[in-house]
């Protein structure tokens, strides 16, 4: 069993708990144990980043320092916003001596230190590039045959740091979904387009428009479901259908985490994977994989 340090961030304990509920058993099934950081704090994303970038990095650096202390080789951050701010902080530590100095001083107060070396990985990267598609295919019990999925990556895991895939045309999730039997919408043109981010809360009109565009195009291309890697994307694409319908038209299509689809393919129970938590239910599921098969 390989161990990774695990930074859940606030979303995976709240609005995005279905992500954690599906991530942990899927990783376990692939012999990966995630050890949650002790006493982790806010990653520093969105609001903090907008107010004071350096202070946001201070918050991120504390999590990095704790992860380094824990001693595992890599830190896994499933939420795209956490993933970005942790990587951004690492970038500043390497590129900006003045920011590095501030972070060092701040960590000293908490009796911590950070060398800047622990890699921050997204589960998608670990699953496809470390564990590998062959190992994943071996775990598949119920290939999701006939399920047409629009792969939606959002912006933060590929921009500005494209550590494991192309910035504008990522394909890692496409390949992963194909490996578990899904039919993938080929060259989904909106795969890295903005979901609306936090605009849905502050300036609803353009925010909702962003979500509407993605949902509409996924439906138009015949998708049964949208697969996402990010809790904020899932929240935006799943949570505002009433408003979108009132403003434009009905574009009801479920948006789920890629790990939930993996869990289904691995034969796990849909409730245990948090599939009941979505506003737009992923129903009816094709009969072949609706129920776990006894092994």
């Amino acid at each position: 069993m390989v161990k990774y340090s695990y930074f859940p961030g606030c979303s995976l304990k709240g609005t995005g708990r279905a992500y954690e509920e599906s991530l942990l058993p899927v990783m376990k099934a692939l012999d990966i144990e995630l050890e949650e950081l002790d006493d982790w704090n806010c990653c520093g994303a969105t609001a903090y980043m907008a107010v004071d970038e350096v202070k946001a990095c201070v918050m991120a650096s504390r999590n990095l320092a704790i992860a380094e202390k824990l001693g595992h080789r890599e830190l896994m951050a499933p939420c795209s916003a956490c993933y970005l701010v942790l990587n951004k902080t690492k970038h500043y530590i390497h590129e900006s001596p003045s920011v590095h100095h501030v972070l060092d001083e701040a960590l000293k107060v908490a009796n911590l230190s950070y060398s800047g070396n622990i890699p921050v990985k997204h589960p998608l990267d670990v699953l496809v590039n470390t564990i590998g598609l062959d190992a994943i295919k071996k775990r598949v019990k119920n290939p999701l045959k006939g399920l047409k999925v629009a792969p939606y990556y959002g912006c933060q895991i590929v921009r500005p740091y494209s550590t494991f895939d192309d910035q504008y045309n990522p394909t890692t999730m496409d390949r992963l979904l194909e490996a578990i039997g899904c039919t993938v919408v080929k060259d989904f043109p909106l795969k890295t387009r903005c979901c609306g981010g936090s605009l849905t809360g502050t300036l609803p009109e353009p925010g909702l428009l962003c979500s509407y565009i993605i949902l509409k195009e996924a439906l138009k291309r015949g998708a049964d479901v949208i697969a996402t890697v990010c809790p904020l994307c899932q929240f935006n694409l799943d949570g505002y259908h009433d408003k979108i319908e009132a403003k434009w038209e009905s574009v009801r299509i479920p948006t789920v985490y890629f790990t939930q689809l993996m869990g289904l393919a691995f034969g796990m129970n849909e409730r245990e994977l948090g599939l009941h938590r979505g506003f737009i239910p992923m129903k009816p599921l094709p009969a072949a994989f609706a129920q776990p098969v006894a092994t």
């Binding site: 504008y168 045309n169 060259d187 043109p189 909106l190 565009i213 195009e217 138009k220």
Partner: protein
Amino acid sequence: MEMNQKEIRIGFYVCHCGSNIAAMVDCPDVAKYVGTLPNVVLSRDYKYMCSDPGQELIAKDIAEHKLNRIVVASCSPLLHEHTFRGAVEAGGVNPFFFHMVNIREHDSWVHTDRKEATEKAKGLSQAAIARVAKHKKLEQKKVPIHPDVLVVGGGIAGIHAAMTLANAGKKVYLVEREPSIGGHMAKFDKTFPTLDCAACILTPKMSAVGSHPNITLLSYSEVTKMSGYVGNYDVTVKRKPRYINEDLCTGCQDCISHCVFKEPKFADEFNENLSKRRPVYIPFPQATPQVVLIDPEVCLNFKRSVLTDKCKKTCVEACGEKKAIDFTQKETLLDIKVGTIIVSTGFQTFDAKRIPQYGYGKYPGVYTALEIERLVNTSGPTGGHVVLRDGKTEPKSIGIIHCVGSRDKKTNRWCSRVCCMYSMKLAHLLKEHTGAEVYNFYIDMRTPGKGYEEFYDKLLEEGNHFIRGRVGEVTDWAFTKEEEGKLVIRVEDTLAGYVRRIPVDMVVLATGIEPHSDSNDVRRLFNMSCGSEGFFLERHPKLAPVNTFNDGIYIAGCCQGPRDIPDTVAQAGAAAAECMALIDKGHIEQEPNTAFVLADECCGCKSCLPLCPYTAITFDEALGKASINEALCKGCGTCVAACPSGSIVQNLFDDEEIFSEIKGVLAYE
């Protein structure tokens, strides 16, 4: 030794260089100090030492004060060492009894404290005074020049350079790796801003090259080896097999029409793969030489061992008595000797797939500019009829995206210089051919050149749309009915101040110019340098733009940096003139700062052999000694520093001279 020191009479001059030096260095103070040093007979400061009166002053002082050593503290030796050596020689003293101190680039220009800068000038001058006393009399050697010239690359640059030289009576070898000369220009339809037909102005030059008695055209060939030195280069050229005897082929092309492949089946590179050709083909109608070639990758005759003998060799039958087809042809090597070389190997266009958000290779409606050049060309894949890849639909709206791959830190940082102009040329031609609405998306319109801005005006008057903004993406997701089935260009219109979506049928990507992917191999082959972007480096960006750091090797055209046809031709002419200047002089004077081996002391360890970047060192196995070819040695000093027995000495940089210089600078308090 005492006696010798007393005979040395040094004259010292410190130059103000207007205010370039004098503003930061107290020149009279430096002159005063140096005047107190041993052996210094005379010490002056002067406003412009490089001026005629300044040079005459040196000659006059030599006569009046019986000076036999001269030191000038001024600018970089790169600029005026030659000037002052001349002045010293004019005064009757060996030009190598001179030394130059750089107190401009190394001192006044880089410091801000006048007192400190003055002190530094004194220290550097003191070092030079101590050094020049140890200088030895040296003679410049003359080496004859081989009058033949090698031109590498047969695009418009190579063609023009070869023709210029050949018309002046010089023998030229023109090496081109493709089956025909012509380069990129041969693919163009029209040329900006005059819109004259590229083929009409190029092909007469191509055929003139092909028939010129002074030009040996080596097409479908590559230079594989070069050794030697300025005036005497030995070059090996690899001649790739065409499977056609060039001397026997008349260019009748009967073999092509009789090929067993009734329909052309294989991607035609000349038409940017927009059409097909047969295994036996001629790249384009005006190809020079007018000789066909056979592609062994697809010709059935070369697959006979695998397949049953499908090929009836109908081409051989068609060729008949001429007997030009030779399936047994092998690659051959040709050794030639030349005195000077022009490298004009051109460029490649940016690979549009590197920017996936523009959809090249994903959406069939997206084209590169070079594909459009072929598409609008009468001899192109559709005979000049502009249709989409389905072969029938005429585009009703066309978007041309400028700066694809250029001016972007993620791809190429430089401006490719020609894209604004060629994009407008294509806009004009596409509009003329199809009557479509044409949109240009630009960052800045860059139209410096004779008649270029006027061309931009003309395009505006024709009703072409110009939208300022870097395009975000080309996509096929439609938001409105009008967008269904179209390619949508999403762009922030930075003049209007909002994001626009423009649906079009055809997208043209104005891909930029970049160095060939194998330009590094060419660079190494000819011992040239290149800048960080990979273009070959000129010796001086303003004053020696076609020279390289390797004497006798010149560069012309886009291999040195992006440029248009007029600039390329001007540069090719300049490179040809540089060759002629050397050839007509008949010999080269070599710098005497070369290294030599003290044969008695050489222990034969061969440490120096692999270090020499100019392969100037050879080893005599019989004697067990190394020796250095003076003509090849560039005086870099690497071998001198590396020799474990200290048996390599370099003129102008022997131990005595260098240690005296060090002692001189250290003696300054």
